[in-house]
Amino acid sequence: MSPLPAPSPAPADERLAGELAYRERQHALLARFGAQALKSTDVGALLQTASELCAEGLRAEMCKALERLPGDEYLLVRAGVGWRAGVVGVARVGADLASPAGFALKTGEPVISNHLGHETRFRTPHLLQEHGVRRAINVVIRGDGEAFGVLEADTRDEGRFDQADVAFLQGFAHLLGAAIDRTRAEAALRERDELQSAVLEAIQDHAIFTTDPANRVTTWPPGAEALFHWSADEIVGLDAAVLYTPEDLKAGVPEEEMRTARDSGYAVDERWHQRQDGSLFFAEGSVRPLRDGAGHLRGYLKVARDITRRKQAEERLKSSEEQFKTLANSIPQLAWMANLDGSIYWFNRRWYEFTGTTPEDVQGFGWRSVHHPDRVEQTAERFLAALEAGEPWEDTFPLRGSDGRYRWFLSRALPIRNAAGTIVRWFGTNTDVTEQLEAEARASEAERRLQLALRSGRIGTWSWDFDGDRVAADARLREMFALEAEGPIAIADFFARIHPEDMPRVDEVVGTARRDLGEYDVEFRLVLPDGDIRWAVARGIVTARPTGGATMVGVTWDVTDRRQADAQVRHSEERFRSVVEATAAIVWIAVGSGQFREPQPSWSAFTGQSADALRGWGWLDAVHLDDRAATDEAWREAVASRAIYKVEHRVRRHDGEFRHMLVRAVPLLRADGSVREWVGVHTDITSRKESEEALRETEERYRLAARATNDAIWDWDLTTDHIRWNEAVHTLFGYAESEIEPSWSWWQSRLHPDDRDAVVGAIRAVLGSGETHWTGEYRFLEADGAYANVLDRAFVHRDRGGRVLRMIGAMQDITERKRFEEELAAAKEAAEEANRAKSQFIANMSHELRTPLSAVIGYCEMIEEEAEDVGAGEFLDDLRKINSNARHLLTLINDVLDISKIEAGRMEVHPEDFAVEPVVTEIAETVQALVEKNGNALVVESGAALGVMRSDLVKVRQCLLNLLSNAAKFTEQGRITLSAQRLDIEGEDWLEFRVADTGIGMTPEEMAKLFQRFSQADASTTRRFGGTGLGLSITKAFAVMLGGDISVESEAGRGTTFTVRLPAQVPASASSPPHAPDLHETAPDPESRAADDRRLVLVIDDDAHQRDLVSRFLTREGFAVQTANDGDAGLRLARALEPCAILLDVMMPRMDGWSVLSALKADPDLADTPVIMITMVREKALGFSLGASDYLTKPVEWPRLKAALDRFGRESAPGRALMIARDESTRADLREILVREGWIVDEAASADAALGIMEGDPPDLVLADVEMPGSGGIGLMRRLRKNPDWAGIPVIAVSAGETSEDQRARLEGEVRQIVQTGESGSEDELVAELRRIAAAPQRPRRPQERG
């Protein structure tokens, strides 16, 4: 293993010596480079040197230093030797792991490649290939940080590099790494220094400079120069003391600062400093000690900033605040300063003097304590609101003084703003305005009084300057004269208002006053522009002016009211007189003793008594004899007690009729208390008396009536909450008189707790709604603690304003009725239950009976066989009889079982395909023996091509066997014919079976009962012929179940023929029994439904016969039919099949037709399916109100059913009709017609209601009764025509009575047609019109389509 190139073989020691020399040389080169690397910071030069030395040391022709480029994808040849030109500084080598250099860089491991041509680990970089390199070493250049690059030695020579070579190269790389680290660090340091000085220089408003420990300036950036006006050249090296004021220097401030800085690490330097030119500025700054790593003091860092302006401002403020406070303390007002939150931080002296508080008391919000407690909240609220808004505040309120008395202060506060306009505090004052307020109050009171006096007296003041003809008048005077409130007024303006009649007088008085310079006083009338005439008095005085001329001043007031009052007095006297006369009253005056002394014209006029006759006690003669004693007594008593005399008595009128009079008299007393005279009034109250009497009579009658009824009648006066009861309340509920409280609450407390809320709520609703009737059923507590069932019917009595006055009701005890109802329901339930139980019992029992019977038959048959086998023939006959009887018994049981199953709806149909002919033959064979028993002959007549039928074979067979055995039973020595044929009846495929006999036949009466259960021709038949009597019922039921029917022809003594017709295909519905188990509960196959394009009608009827009839009719009419025999099944089928129409019976077990109808209409998917009720029950209205589309009664009129179905077969309803008629029965009639025609009907009882509906959703048709109240039908139609949205809606007018020519003329053009509902044929006319409208191809489109 030689690391050396070996040109020739050499001896070992020579080789060793060569090796040693080689290594020593390497060490020398490394040492040399180490010395250089320590000194140099030139990385490029170091790399170049390293490349050269390495090439030399490794005897490699080429060496290079590669630098990692950003992105780590390439290495750049930074330096090198031996490379062709254009490589160093330019060439790049891939830095991925696939190149030796890249691998070394990425892994940090040295890489030796001694056979680059055969290298499998790496590809040989292009650069190396180009230079013919065979061998190479790569080591990473790395210091403390991340790798710098790679140092690579390359040679074209054969040979080997070994680990010592790697160590050599790695040594260079380490030296390079360290050198690179160092140069990097130095570069970074330099950069930071430059940055720092740049920052310092950039700071202009701060002086940041350093001194040495002796306070000599060492650095002086531009900021310091700008501040102190010293240049760096001038000051560096000088003692920083030059920056201080002489005073501070004298006080040793600089030393003090430095000491503080040294001791505490920081000293504040806030003081005046001196510039180079001797000017001062206030500096805010600091001093920090600068220490080296060992903690030795190296100097000080000083920072200073010029805050002179701020300082000056602060000092000015301080002094001005002081000044202000001094000022504020000297003013008489209370003054204070508040923070923005309303807390007060300063008060002036006056405040403390007045309030007697201390600063501690009122600091912050303590000011509240001196405010009046009643007003403080309001004041504080306003004050804080002003502060919040930043607006000046002003308020007047009392403050409590030190003496405890409140004085009023007008208080103001203003915001104080800083230079930026921001509010910094509030300054406020309180000025004592107590005296002022009092004076104002007094002044305003006087003023008010004057104003009041003038106003109430309507006194105006004026002055009239004769010379200028100018009048000065106050507002009141102007108002009085109805003159303009402002502007000059001439005397003529006043005179123009004076009544023409009064004017000469006024003129005269004024003239005299002017002439004599005297006073004047005149009363005159004013004629105001509105025609009002008022009386006025003017008083004035004329005075001469010293300068000549004269002025009249005066007042004028309105005396109209006074004059009116005078007039009123006169008027009231007259009125009194007329009132007395009008009320047919007597007014009289009696002396104190109660006697008439003077003539009483009023009394005389009424009674016809002369003045003489009535004098003294004579007037008593006119009083009714019966009333005299009482009158006399009352009168004497009143006279004695001098109290008001009040009595009622009858007085004979002049025509002899006694009138009821109410008498009132009052004593007029003298000053000494004695009665001077009596003034009395008699009022005629006869008619009042009469009506009172009438009322009493009515009430008595009412009371009697109430007593006569068994109902408890209550009369509740809502104004007093008093309830009056009749006597039935005792008899009905057992309450004693004393137990009944005449109040609503008593009644309410006796309601059953479960009923109370509902009943009370209902009554309140009635009272609140304006309704007049209420009916309720509830339980009412009886005296014995039981509850009675009560039906209560009441009506509400209201005044004209609709206010409830009374509510009167009758409580009827329906306990008994209720009980009957309940018993009835229970009995019905029990009966139904019993019926169900019976059916179930029969089914079970039959089953139980059959099991032992099976055993009997089984054993019997077995014994028969065995008897034959053993030859015991003598038993055979008896055994056969046992067997035959057992089988007969089994047949009977089966019949009973069948009928009970039919009744319970549990009989099933199992259709299967079978050939008819063999069945007929088989049946004939079966009954052969039976027929022959009575000496009868059996004839079978099978028609040609009976073919195959699909039906329930078992039932078909049973039907025929029943009929045949029946025929055999009632025929002797005759002929029984069984015939069968296939028929086409109205396009349908039928099989007809006939069983004809020549037997006893039947009467029509017998035939009528034929198919009834348990009935035979007569009781004797049973004895004679046996049987259960169920056979024919079962046969009929089976025939109907199979989609067919049975009929009979008979004549007594001539024989009977039964005909059974069955469809060749049993209808699908017959095979899906409603109560079948799960297997049957499958939805119909949708495909099969789609395939059947006939429209499907669902028939729901419990009567199989009816179902069959209807089904056949519908099938013939081209409908597909499904049937259901009860409501449940009907609903299920309806949901599954979604038929186009449903025919529904009402009377059905379990769930009746109404319930089914409601359920159908409640199902959103089915609600639109037309439902035609077919029923015996005539409850049309109920049907329509529940949503039935039509209503047919049994027996069905087929054409009507067809018409109905044709209508519903249409795609959709013709539309929505709005019907407007006041009369409920008219509406009902019209509704029926409309519904039958397929319209959806909205109803309105008034034009307004109709318009409401129209606005919500315009209909497709309007039917209106022309005889409507209010605006009427005609008015409504006009309104419809006016609205463009409605104008296209066809309108039909209906009229119950004759329409006048006039009406017709007005309706012409407004409506399509006028139908008179009363007329015959009117319905057809209406229907025809409805159909025309429905069929109209272009009906007006409504603005909004219904969703």
Partner: protein, 128 residues
């Protein structure tokens, strides 16, 4: 050829007594079970050629027994004729739904039952 083996499942003593005797008289090899569980067990153990299965059985009813047998490959091919009480609506479908091959409504019409047995055994024999 030996006669077919019939498992008669019937809880009513008189019925199974006379039925089994009559069937034996016709030469059938009759074994008996009196409830549904026995029916299943015996069918598994004895592999009868046919099962006459009453439906209203104690322990396990006939429908369940039929379903169980028809669900097991070893017994699925054994024809079952359901004997049902005619009184119950839907019996026929219910029996066929449970997997029974045929249906005979009680009371037993012996000759008809025999023809049903023959038919069932015949189709069984004809089956591959």
């Amino acid at each position: 050829m030996s006669m077919a083996k019939i498992l008669l499942v019937e809880d009513h003593e008189e019925i199974w007594d006379f039925l089994s005797r009559r069937l034996k008289r016709r030469g059938f090899d009759v074994i008996l079970a009196h409830d549904g569980q026995q029916a299943v067990d015996k069918t598994r153990a004895e592999r009868p050629d046919l099962v006459l299965l009453d439906m209203n059985l104690p322990v396990m009813d006939g429908w369940t027994a039929a379903k169980t047998l028809k669900a097991e490959p070893a017994t699925a091919a054994i024809p079952i004729i359901a004997l049902t009480a005619h009184a119950m609506a839907g019996d026929r479908d219910k029996a066929l739904g449970a997997g029974c091959d045929d249906y005979h409504a009680k009371p037993v019409d012996f000759s008809r039952l025999l023809s049903q047995i023959d038919a069932a055994l015949g189709s069984q024999a004809a089956a591959p």
